[in-house]
Symmetry: none
Subunit: 188 residues, 4 copies
DNA sequence: TATGAATGAGATTTCATTCAT
DNA sequence: AATGAATGAAATCTCATTCAT
C-alpha cells in the first residue's frame, strides 16, 4: 500500500502549511494521514527525513509549475513573461508553499550542498534560460542564480506579503512588477 | 542591570537566526545570555513576548541603520544609493538580523495589523522617500511599499543566501545589483 | 492494559491522602504507579482531570461499600446499624479514601453542581433511606442530606483523626458512637 | 515596624482563604502585604513556618470566639447552646477559616504531637466543659475529645457544605441541629 | 507490514530562597 | 532592617521514537 507514503507526505504538507513549522507532531501527521504513528517510521527514517522529503516534493511541484509551456532555449521577453506569470500564479494558488520554504531554508535542516544539488536537479532549465540570455548579451553580466533571484525569487517574499494581507495587487500592478523584474535583469 | 535584557534579546536573535524558530529553547537562550532560566521571565512575560520583542528591537535598529545620512526629501539616485548601501552593509554586518525577520514573518506570531503599525512607526521616512520619487515622476506608479519592496526588501533573501554560502558577492556584483534595483523602480 | 489506569488512580489517591493536595506531582504519581510520566497523559487529559477521576472512582467504591446488604426501603435501627458499620469499616479499611475526599471538597476543583449530580447518582439509595425514615415519623424533620450528614458524614473527619493517631477507638466506643448517631437523627 | 509581621500573616490568610492552599506564593504574599519578598524571611524562617503561624493565629481566634461568654465550669444545656451557637456563628462569619484548617490537617505540615499541644493550649476549657459533663453523669462515657468532636467539630464540614452552597440552613434547622448534637452526646 | 501504547527526555514556566546593595 | 533581582530546581505537559503484538 504505497499510497500510505503519499498520504503521510500530504498530511505533513497540509499541517505545516496551516500551522507553521511549529504545529506539526508525528502523532498529528499520523492522525491526518489516517495511519498509526509507528507506520510513519516504516516510510521515513525520522522526522527530519520526513520534512526533507516534503521539501523535495514541493520543489518538484514548483519547478514543474514554473516551467510549464516555457521554452528555456529562447531568452525572450515572451518566455520571461511566461516564467514570471507561472511563478506568480503558482505562488498565488499555493501561498503556503513557499512560506514553508522560507522556514525550511532558515532551519537547521537546511544543508547548502544538498540544496545546491536539488536546485541543479530541478531548476536547471530555469538557470539555463538566464544563462542563454546572458550569453546573448540580453541580460546583465551576472551568475544565472543571481539573475534568477532578481527576477523570480523575490516573488516569494512578495507573495508572502499578499497572503498575510499586507499588500494588495491588481492587474495593473502585476504588469508593473513584471516590467520591473524585466528591467532589473536587462543589460543596458 | 538592563544589560541583561539586552543579552537575552541578543542571545535569542542569534539562536533563532542560526537554528531556526525550532532551535530555540528558553534554557538555551538563558545559557547563551549567561543568566538563569528564570531571569528571562523577569524581563519577558513568556516566550512569545520575547520573540516579539526581539523582532521590534531589530526593526528599530534596522531602520536607524538604513536611514543613516539619507535625505529622504530628495528622491535622487545619490540618496537611493545611500539607502541601498546602508541596507546592504547592515545586512552583511548583521546577517542574523533579517534572517530572523524572514522567519518571524512566516511564523504564526506574525500579525498583520501589528506589523503595519510597526512599519508605519519605524519605516515612515523610507516610504516617504519613494512617495516623493513617485510624485516627482521619477519612480513607477506603485504604492510606496511596493517600490520599497522591489528596491530593498529582496536584499533580505539575498543576504540570507550569502550567509548560507549559496552565493558570493564582489564589488562588481554589488554595483550590478544596485543598478538592477534602481532600474526596477525607475519609470520609463 | 486498563490496569495501568487503575494503578495511576490508586497512586494518586494514596499520595494525596498522605501528603496532601500539595504532595502530588505527576512524576511522583508516575513513579508510584510504575509507569512513565507521559503515560498518565494517555489516560487523563491533565492533572485536574486525574484528580476529578480519582474523586469519582472513590465515590463509586464508597457508595457500593456503604450500601452492601442494606435494605434502604426499611428505615429501621437494624438497617441503620448496617449502614453505619459499613461506612465505618470502609473508612477504617481505606483511611486514604475519604481523607482524599475532604481535601477535594475544600479545593478549588470542587464544583457544587457537579457534586450534586454525583451525589444524586451514587448516593440516591442512602438518601432514600433517610427520606423513608422521616416520612415514617421516625427521623427528625430535616432534609435527607442533613440526616445523612449527621449520621454518617462526620465519620469522615473522625476516621481522619484516627488515621492521624489523634484518637483511638475500641469496641465500646464504636457502640457509643453508633448510638450517638442514631440519637442525633431520631425524632423525639 | 512589627506591624509588617501582621501584614504578612493577614495577607497569607486572605490569599489561602480565597485561592486555597495552592494559590499562595511568597511573591504574592509579599505583594499583598506591601513588603519586599525578602522581608518575609526576616519574620518567618520559611514558607512552612509562615503557614504554621497562620494556622496558630487562626486557632487562637477560633478558640476565643467559641468560648465567648461560656462558663465551662457549668455543663448545662444553656452553656452547651452558647458553645454550639458561638461555633456556628464563627464558622458562618469566617467560612474560609476552617476550609483552611481541613487542608492544613491533611497536609504534611500537620504534626500530631504539635497539634495535640496546640489543642491543649487553646481548647482546654472546651474539653473541660465536656469532662465536667461526663463526670456529672450528663454526657456519654467517652473521652472529652470525642464528645467535643460529636458536638462541635462536625460543624466544620457542615459549614463547608453551606459555604459551597450544597445545603441551606434556616432558623428551624439550626434548632434541629443543635438539638441533634445535644442528643448525640447525652447519656441516657 | 502495521499498530498504537508506552517511554522519558525536554520544553515552558513558576516559585522558594538567597544575597548584594 | 529592608529590598527585589537573580537563581535554578521542580512542576506540568508534549512529542519523537520504540517495540511487543
Amino acid at each position: 500500500m504505497p499510497d500510505k507514503r503519499e498520504r503521510i507526505l500530504a498530511a505533513a504538507e497540509t499541517l505545516i502549511a496551516h500551522g507553521g513549522f511549529h504545529g506539526i507532531s508525528m502523532q498529528l501527521v499520523a492522525k491526518h494521514a489516517n495511519v498509526a504513528t509507528g507506520t510513519i517510521y516504516r516510510y521515513f527514517a525520522d522526522k527530519e527525513t520526513l520534512l526533507r522529503c516534503v521539501h523535495e516534493e514541493r520543489l518538484i511541484e514548483v519547478s514543474a509549475a514554473i516551467l510549464q509551456n516555457v521554452n528555456t532555449k529562447e531568452p525572450s521577453y515572451e518566455q520571461f513573461q511566461k516564467l514570471w506569470l507561472n511563478t506568480m500564479h503558482y505562488l498565488q494558488a499555493n501561498p503556503d508553499s513557499l512560506c514553508y520554504r522560507v522556514q525550511y531554508e532558515a532551519s537547521p535542516l537546511f544543508d547548502r550542498e544538498e540544496e545546491r544539488q536539488r536546485d541543479e536537479r530541478y531548476f536547471k532549465p530555469v538557470f539555463e534560460f538566464f544563462e542563454h540570455g546572458r550569453e546573448a548579451g540580453l541580460f546583465r553580466d551576472m551568475p544565472a542564480e543571481l539573475l534568477g533571484f532578481l527576477a523570480l525569487e523575490n516573488l516569494m517574499l512578495l507573495s508572502q506579503k499578499c497572503t498575510k494581507g499586507c499588500i494588495e495587487l491588481d492587474e495593473h500592478l502585476y504588469q508593473q512588477l513584471l516590467d520591473a523584474s524585466w528591467n532589473a535583469i536587462l543589460k543596458r
